[in-house]
Amino acid sequence: MSQETGPAAAPESKPHLIKVLGPVHIWALGVGIVLVGEFMGWNFAVAKGGSLGAIIACWVIGLLYTALVMVNTEIGSVIPEAGGQYAMAKYLLGPLAAFNVGLMLVFEYVMLEAADALVIGELLKTLNPAIRSLPYVILTLMFFTYLNYRGVFATLTVNFIITALAFVTIFILLFATRFYHPTESLVRLKQMTNGLPYGLIGIIAAFQFGVWFFLGIEGTALAAEECRSIGRALPVGALVGMATLLVGATITWYVCSGLVPAAHLGESVYPLFDAAMATHMSWVVAALFAGTLLSCMASANGCITDSSRAWFAMSRDTLIPGAFAAVHPRYKTPYRAILFLLPIAMVFGFTGLLDQVITFSIFSALLVYLLCGYMMFKFRAMYPLGSMKRGYVAPWHPFVAILLITLVLATLAGMYFGYWINLLAGFLFYFIASFWFTFHRYKFVDYKTLIKAGAIHWPRPKGY
């Protein structure tokens, strides 16, 4: 079937990434990508659903992501391959779905990376009118591309440090408010919040912005191939990461809602930074400025890691040209995939259309989550419990998968209210991509290469 030669076309010489990552790196990858959403974006949920609607959306979407992490961790713990949800799709859904999932992952992360770099430029511009954002946008993308090019261990160690520092700044703000003191507390929830002004429909409309608190945590599965012990690193890193985000999201809502009036919070560009300004303490303002900047950097860095792994895995499996499947002989990174995606991120960065870029990223992610829920049913049907050794078993199946699918559909419905044209454009884009794959690319796909790793290690699926 294969008509191409190259690294991906020859199963015997299938290139592999180096196994150097532990749970800390997986935590840094997942939380690093997501944490930026606590510093900005989530607060638009306040405009849609009110203060109470925002925290309900936060927790409901937290349930969605907890279900997603459980599903991903169970399936991912038996697939020691780069590509995360893409690798799951190729075994459970077939080449066309795998191609789409891979493409969705690449766009989710490349667009998020572009948005992060844009925000860094805009944030630095606030320091002085003489500062221009473009050189810093380019520098951010160049620096983290270089770091990723040089090695995944250093990349995610740096990500751990900057993510941890950014996370600490949220606690600095929390304790600066003296929230624990009954009379001196700066947090005034009763005066600042506006409850649930639009009722249930407001909560559903707020879902799409509640996604900001957790968007990208599923990226932990994309580095599975580089884990020293996949059965330990992935569950520990992803589940601790999810717990970290739930705590961070609740604290963020609490301090922002208690310090900034709801009407202003719903329109704020940097809600945590504005909350810090409301304390009138210069050192807290400085800490939150640094935290916002660091969270954007960590997110951009993690996005480069994840998008390149998805692109590399698709190329290695012959779903896209094999040229991108090369591994750097010294640094053991997918260097061609990393460099290929750099100009694409830059192009999206140059557009300056932050909201459009982010909406397409969220839309792509939601489609992946929907397919993840379906894959869980297929996985348990094809490989029932006891048929193969799992690093983690998700409890309460099928309720977890049903919850995941239901909440994703509700979020897509909420998104439809404000961004129906983006949704339509997104569907059209993936339809055209599927058309190209089916009628042009499919003839180059080497099916044996595609499922080789699973075919060696996994038992024959039930019913096949």
Binding site: P7, S13, K14, P15, H16, I18, L127, N128, A130, I131, R132, P135, Y136, I138, L139, M142, F143, T145, Y146, Y149, A326, V327, H328, P329, R330, K332, Y335, L339
Partner: protein, 48 residues
């Protein structure tokens, strides 16, 4: 010229420097890869 204008220039210079560093290594690796694939045994570059 303010310090911020100088910083803009520094950011451009650093971006350019990083770009050249990546490009230099990329060309080196690609040349080695091509040379290996032309080797008499035809084995190509060995992947880990």
């Amino acid at each position: 010229m303010s310090i911020w204008t100088v910083m803009n220039g520094v950011a451009w210079a650093l971006s350019g420097g990083l770009f050249l560093l990546i490009l230099w290594d990329f060309i080196k690796v690609e040349r080695a890869r091509r040379a290996d694939s032309r080797a008499p045994d035809g084995a190509g570059e060995k992947e880990p």
